[in-house]
Amino acid sequence: MKIHVYAGLKDYFQPEFEVSGLVRNTDELKALLLTINDKAGAILSSCRFAVEEGFIDNAFKLNENDTIVIIPPSSGG
């Protein structure tokens, strides 16, 4: 499973990396990411997740071949 992160998340993770193991939904992905960096809890709780350029929620069933984009709160303008 490939992970892409942006903006402030890059202070906690590499911009692109892979994870393996049983990750069925975004809650399980967040839990796995916290094992990589336990300081990322606050920012992860405010993030949206996207697959194939569309937003997903925890009901979306993740696949091991998915590329997941983790999107921090916007700050454009």
Partner: protein, 174 residues
């Protein structure tokens, strides 16, 4: 949610109007050119908002801002926001363009132009568009301070009030 939720695609420009500009640009924004393409014979009002880089933030001197975007989704979201505004306010023109990369103090980071028969619709639609871009589009800014430090910041924090990362304060009032 069984499948990813995709914003609708970009709307076509009205007949006789300039093609819609790209939603994101790594080059300085051509405000004059964008305004020139926004006029419409049915529009008695044109409103242009230019979001520009300020030289200070929370008491600290700012040297520049750096914008990053998740381009595929930001582009489709901005297109959906513009299409919604066009329909809701019967706009003749609705365009928006946002910078990516480093933007100097005084330069434009985002421009929104709306044109309608009367000014109230053009003002309201313009405010709607810039608010939604700032709150929802996956675009982020990094403040580069004069002391050499930098910080990602000024994030939308609506979720701390609404309890939902997909729900923003301006949406709770109906």
């Amino acid at each position: 949610m069984a499948a990813p939720s995709h914003p609708s695609g970009p709307a076509a420009a009205s007949p006789g109007q300039a093609p819609a500009p790209e939603a994101l640009s790594s080059e300085p924004l051509d405000i004059v050119g964008l305004l020139g393409g926004a006029h419409h014979p049915g529009a008695g009002a044109v409103v242009l908002f230019s979001g520009e880089v300020r030289d200070n933030n929370q008491g600290r001197a700012v040297s520049s801002l750096e914008y990053e975007a998740y381009a595929p989704l930001a582009t489709s979201m901005i297109a959906e926001i513009l299409a919604t505004a066009r329909q809701r306010w019967s706009l003749q023109t609705a365009v928006a363009q946002h910078r990516t990369g480093r933007v100097a103090v005084g330069d434009t980071a985002v421009v929104v132009i709306t044109a309608s028969a009367h000014r109230s619709e053009a003002y309201a639609a313009n405010r709607y568009i810039i608010d939604r871009i700032k709150h929802e589009a996956p675009i982020w800014k990094c403040e580069h301070y004069a002391d050499g430090t930098k910080e990602w910041g000024n994030n939308c924090n609506c979720h701390t009030v609404t309890g939902d990362v997909n729900k923003h304060i301006y949406e709770t009032g109906g």
